[in-house]
């Protein structure tokens, strides 16, 4: 069995919903937006674990919780065997070196007033990892890693002088410069043009192999996840509805939501079967999620009261493939 890098247990993040003064007086209880509502997963060493879902399903919130950019409401996050949820920010600081993030939008994630050298040197300075002379050397090496060569040409440039692809390389470099063992990649290519997406992804995959990093890859694009992830978890309204290897999810989907997602993915092959829309409607608000199975109002195989009343547990159907649907929990 491979080593587990990060393990998440029953992670919850509820955001309080702000209401007006009178509403607060009248309300009998506080209202919460349940962005992430009890999820479990683990990422193994050198693995790319995909978290797939529509917008509002809670994938980014999960990513932010792992980095303690927001504090989870409850649950446990074990990083290399240690629960990092209860640590104070000060005691968490050494862990930040090991857990890094690459954000979605390289146009917003880089400080426009900092040169590339400053941007890449900042994490080193914050962690106190490089002496006077070493900083620039390390930055140069990282720039070479992300193929911004020759490095001297980029050191003193500002983000506005770079193209989108180059910016995302800088952001990737910033994520890797501390040699982390775990990276959260939050839609790292969705803002880039298709012709350069593959190049950035390739770069990331190469670096993962080189440094043995594990990745939590957050994306809405199932087709992309299928090609780069080892395992995939599908999220819907703050819950994981299905989890398995990329092949299991794509070729043997079990949950009706996963099936609907797969059916909706357009394929770049004009001779293949055209898309069929299996489900109606849109993802509901996570403030008042549907009772029981959260997917039941849109589900086409809803089997009755049990779906409306009882929340389905995530059950293992063998070979590490698990699904949260009453249809399958009934059989077993």
């Amino acid at each position: 069995m491979e080593e587990t890098v990060i393990k998440v247990e029953n992670l919850k993040k509820w955001f309080p919903v702000r209401m007006g003064f009178l509403q607060t007086l009248m309300a009998t209880k506080k209202v919460f937006l349940r962005a992430v509502d009890g999820i479990d997963f683990e990422v193994k060493k050198k693995e790319i674990f995909g978290l797939v879902g529509e917008s509002g399903s809670g994938k980014t919130t999960t990513g932010r919780c792992l980095l303690r950019l927001t504090d989870p409401t409850s649950g446990k996050i074990f990083f290399q065997g240690k629960d990092i949820v209860l640590l104070s920010q000060k005691r968490f600081k050494p862990f930040r070196r090991k857990i890094q993030i690459i954000f979605q939008d390289p146009y917003e994630s880089l400080n426009p007033r900092m040169t590339i050298l400053d941007t890449l040197a900042e994490p080193l300075n914050v962690q106190g990892l490089a002496g006077e002379g070493e900083t620039e050397e390390k930055v140069r090496k990282t720039l070479e890693d992300v193929q911004l060569v020759p490095p001297e040409e980029f050191l003193y440039r500002y983000p506005h002088e770079l193209s989108g692809g180059q910016r995302q390389r800088v952001a990737t470099g910033r994520g890797l410069i501390l040699e982390p063992s775990f990276i959260v990649a939050d839609e790292p290519v969705s803002m880039l043009d298709v012709s350069i997406r593959a190049e950035i992804l390739d770069l990331m995959l190469d670096l993962i192999e080189k440094y043995g990093v594990s990745i939590l890859y957050i994306t809405h694009d199932l087709a992309l996840a299928r090609h780069i992830c080892d395992r995939i978890a599908v999220m819907y309204l703050g819950k994981i509805v299905e989890k398995g290897t990329a092949e299991q999810i794509v070729y043997e989907p079990l949950h009706p939501y996963t099936k609907a997602l797969l059916a909706a993915v357009p394929t770049p092959d004009p001779t293949s079967k055209r898309i069929q829309v299996v489900v109606k409607g849109e993802i509901p608000s996570p403030v008042n999620p549907p009772s029981g199975c959260r997917f039941h109002p849109r589900c086409n195989v809803c089997i009755g009261d049990v779906c409306r009343m009882k929340e389905p547990p995530l059950v293992d159907t063998g070979n590490g493939h698990s699904v949260a649907c009453h249809k399958y929990s009934h059989k077993t």
């Binding site: 692809g165 043009d193 298709v194 992309l224 357009p266 829309v277």
Partner: protein
Amino acid sequence: MSKPTMLDVANLTTYYKISRGYVRAVENVSFQVKEREAMGLAGESGCGKTTIALSLLKILPHNGSIKSGHIFFRGLDLAQLDEYEMRQKIRWKKVSIVFQGAMNALNPVYNIGDQMIEAIMTHELETSKSKAEERSQKLLELVGLEPSRVNNYPHEFSGGMKQRAMIAMALACNPELIIGDEPGTALDVIVQAQVLKLIKELKEKLNLSVIMITHDLSIITETCDKIAIMYAGKIVEYGDIVTVFKEPLHPYTRALVQSFPDITAAKTRMKSIHGSPPDLLSPPTGCRFHPRCEYAMDICRKKEPPFLNVGHDHSVGCHLLSKA
């Protein structure tokens, strides 16, 4: 089999003037759209796809202008029409556009009904307000929304519903050609599939022609009959989608097709195109793709490749083919 041509764009050239010179956004672009046909216009951001759409309707921003070329719509050259004629004869009545609407194409301070009524009454001076109201409710029903939602404001709609409302608005004056400018982008996959299906159904039901503008080739394969691939202000390949996807001839098309992940295919590493698209203030000489092309020859740097017909509605602009 061969349908009559509805729209014939010939040598369209549109530039934007900025302080540093002219941005050559669209140069010498020619294509045809036949009756009841859907054509996809694909390319990366900044390649001029949206500029073509804006040129067809002549709603370019103040610094943009059509420098030369013709846009024949049923024989009438739109490039020669003035603003008044465009508004009275063409826009919305013949050609309308669905913007990438989920985010900000609707006015947040007017309700949906009023916005639709405004569109109808601007273009059809003779229609009364009550008739326009009635029609806006019918249109919402046509795109699968509750007619009573005419009184709702855009913030009360979800992304998919806003996009449906945008489509309803584009249909307000019974146009014959609809331009969809990234109609599925910024929507979730399931909602995107619903919207694309709606467009396909409406096309059949109302006998529309469609121009679908998108950077996502897979959306074009799902909805269109023909495809034009654009690169840096030029169309580099045009043909029916099966031919272009199965036997792409231009190196850019080939690379673009390969850079798309196919969910049904075995796990592979995607291929990419080295470098990035050029600055259109001073595009490369000769073939605009040559700096990123793996087959670039001497002639590519010097001479612009002619746009050759290589058989059955399939045209390519590449020296590799003109040589052979």
